[in-house]
């Protein structure tokens, strides 16, 4: 294999970025509302110049009100979940690890359900409650998953799996208690969907806030990528080479959990992306975490944008939950890559 230089990382990431750009353009074009490429470009151009008055209001509505926020949310959620998945797979040294294995999504779903039961019509309550639920689960699993004062991968994995099962049981219990419209909101959380509008009218500020958290958390994981490479060869060996294993584990655990909580709070538990995308990127570009983290982030964004475009159009006018689409489209791609590699 060729040595990994910053130039090569940049080249591969730009290539993937170009794929993401194409996916975004195609996604902008596809939809139930008939709007041509030329009109989309004009609308985007006028919107970017701040000339809102020059745009027919329905074009503004479809492009800036419906499609762009959905794409932006898809990029954020896909990138967060895949980065978190790559982080958890290294932290737990387990190829089956995904962002939800430690119960973060169950905690977030429980928070969302409680808020739906207690305060059903409060704007933004669901997102906040979901994040609080995720944070509480992160803290609980952290304290349960320590051994000798430090994070121990097998203990952490067991603690997380038990927490996830326990929280799922509580969710099942609550599901028998609620009826009607709450039930549909909860189904939305459990399946994962990008329909929910931002909780404020300041859409740009909201996405700025979300992407800021993503950059900080994903950046934190990226700074540990060289150390993660060493830890993956063996914790003992990494210690001997001067890696502060406990600190690295803590950083990855907190950052990956925050990314998961962020994604689940805004879109529910979208499955498979966090598990499959890092593996696909390993198959395509190798196991070096300096390359794996950024490619996973972009790959996850591509996966969700493509999956959501399919979810919106494949049985149009009905929309599928994007969570169903990621598994449906993701599994065959994964199996193809896996078999090709073995041959």
């Amino acid at each position: 294999m060729r040595p990994l230089t910053p130039k090569r990382i940049l080249w591969i990431c730009s290539g993937l970025g170009a794929v993401l750009f194409v996916a975004v353009v195609v996604s902008l074009r596809m939809g139930a509302y008939p709007i041509g490429v030329r009109d989309i470009v004009m609308t985007l151009f006028n919107g970017a110049m701040g000339r809102r008055d020059d745009i027919p209001s329905e074009f503004w509505l479809v492009v800036f009100g419906l499609r762009l926020p959905r794409i932006a949310l898809g990029i954020l959620v896909g990138a967060s979940l895949s980065t978190a998945g790559a982080g958890f797979q290294a932290l737990l040294r387990n190829p089956l690890a995904d962002p939800y294995v430690l119960g973060v999504s169950s905690g977030a779903a429980l928070g969302a359900i409680v808020s739906l039961i207690v305060a059903p019509h409060v704007v933004g309550a669901i997102q906040i409650a979901a994040f609080v639920g995720a944070a509480a689960t992160i803290a609980a699993v952290y304290f349960l998953g320590r051994r000798g004062g430090h994070l121990d991968s097998p203990t952490l994995l067991l603690a997380g799996i038990v927490a996830a099962s326990f929280l799922s049981a509580i969710i099942m219990f609550l599901l028998t208690m609620v009826t009607g419209s709450e039930l549909r909101s909860i189904a939305f959380w459990l399946m994962g969907d990008l329909t929910a509008p931002p909780p404020t009218t300041n859409v740009i500020g909201w996405f700025g806030f979300l992407f800021f958290i993503f950059i900080v958390a994903a950046g934190a994981i990226y700074t540990t990528s060289s150390d993660l490479n060493l830890i993956l060869t063996g914790e003992q060996e990494a210690r001997h080479l001067g890696v502060n294993v406990n600190r690295v584990k803590l950083v990855v655990y907190v950052a990956a959990s925050v990314l998961t909580g962020l994604a689940v709070s805004v879109s529910g538990a979208i499955g498979y992306v966090g598990l499959l995308v890092p593996h696909v990127m390993r198959m395509l570009f190798g196991t070096d975490y300096r390359l794996l983290i950024p490619t996973s982030a972009i790959g996850g964004a591509i996966a969700i944008v493509v999956a959501d475009t399919l979810a919106r159009t494949i049985v149009a006018p009905t929309q599928l939950p994007v969570g169903a689409m990621t598994a449906l489209a993701g599994a065959p791609v994964f199996i193809y890559l896996m078999r090709r590699r073995i041959r």
């Binding site: 059903p120 909101s185 009905t318």
Partner: protein, 356 residues
């Protein structure tokens, strides 16, 4: 009162502007500014077009709704039926893939299934008003539509009476308050006739089957429970939940007088259903099944729409055939005897069971 305030103002409402069909970008952009200066009549027309009023819908959301409603999109079958029953079928721009009644509703453009319709498909129909219901639409859909400035009125009826009021409110929003009042009054009159006939009969204790396996029935908070009371019946199950799952053992213990099933197939008669139930080990021990006391009503009973009254009448005929066989003379005599109740029922019709 539902209408807190009626405010007329010139709000720029996205759904209000309708550029000419097939126009290119520039033409559409120009069409936005069509009331030219100095043309007073045209300006007034534009202001009227954009005039809106604020109402509070049945879930407590404040909604700005245009005064003039030309394009309506419904997100549930019962709402589609209501729009047609009000004679506003021509103004229905789109409905869901579930909307099959009346047959004309199937020909309308569909915006998807009620649980997850396409927001873009709704926008593409230029609706002035979208009608939704809590019983099948998700709050996310309503919020997402509201976030892009589309007027959504969500109905939330819990009783038959509430449904009639909801129909009247929606009719008023669509500028058809007279039709709405007439329809509600006509449906209420049919309910009154039923009540007069059933007034002195004991309530039939029934099991209403929402789903057979697992057995799911209704709680007292649903409008189906209220519809049962209007049909002279009462559910044997008392539960805090709206759609409780119950064990067949519990039903054997309670021994309902009648089993009420819903069916969308007209040909699936009660006899067929009885034969089906008798073939099941758990059910054939029920006294109601042995006696053939199985009532089959149309699926309308699960939809809070004008068709619900048909279903109530169907059910009343099956549960209390004796009330409908007597001739009018006997009936009048009985009515005279029951005059005290009939008079009082004009005041408190909400619960036929309590009044008796």
């Amino acid at each position: 009162m539902i209408f807190c305030a009626v405010v007329v103002c010139a709000a720029s409402h996205a759904a209000e502007k309708r550029p000419p069909e097939g126009g290119r970008y520039e033409r559409r952009a120009r069409a936005e500014n069509w009331p030219s200066e100095g043309d007073v009549g045209l300006q007034q027309a534009a202001e009227y077009k954009r005039a809106i009023r604020y109402v509070t819908d049945e879930t407590g959301r404040r909604v700005a709704i245009p005064l003039r409603i030309r394009n309506i999109v419904t997100l549930a079958p019962n709402l589609t039926e209501t729009v047609y029953a009000l004679g506003l079928g021509e103004r229905l721009a789109g409905d869901t893939t579930f909307c099959d009644s009346p047959p004309a509703a199937k020909e309308k453009p569909h915006v998807g299934a009620p649980q997850n319709p396409s927001l873009e498909a709704i926008v593409a129909l230029h609706p002035d008003l979208v009608l939704a219901t809590t019983s099948i639409n998700s709050p996310q859909t309503v919020e997402a539509l509201a976030a892009v400035g589309i007027a959504v009125y969500t109905s939330d009826p819990h009783t038959v009476r509430g449904m009639l009021e909801s129909i009247a409110h929606m009719a008023d929003l669509m500028g058809a308050s007279e039709q709405g009042a007439a329809l509600a009054a006509q449906l209420q009159a049919r309910l009154d006739v039923l009540q007069a006939r059933l007034a002195e009969l004991p309530l039939a204790h029934v099991l209403f089957v929402v789903w057979e396996d697992p057995l799911i029935t209704i709680g007292p908070g649903t409008f189906i429970a209220d519809a049962l009371r209007w049909a002279g019946a009462e559910s044997v199950i008392v539960s805090k939940q709206n759609w409780p799952q119950v064990s067949i053992e519990e039903i054997v213990r309670l021994q309902p007088e009648y089993i009420v099933l819903t069916s969308n197939h007209e040909e699936s008669s009660a006899a067929l259903q009885i034969a089906d139930l008798r073939a099941r080990p758990a059910w054939k021990g029920l006294r109601a099944v042995e006696l053939g006391h199985v009532a089959v009503v149309g699926e309308e009973v699960t939809r809070p729409s004008p068709g619900l009254i048909d279903a109530i009448e169907q059910l009343a005929h099956q549960l209390h055939p004796e009330a409908f066989t007597e001739n009018m003379e006997q009936h009048e005599q009985r009515r005279a005897r029951g005059a005290r109740f009939v008079a009082s029922s004009a005041v408190g019709k909400d619960c036929a069971a309590c009044a008796r």
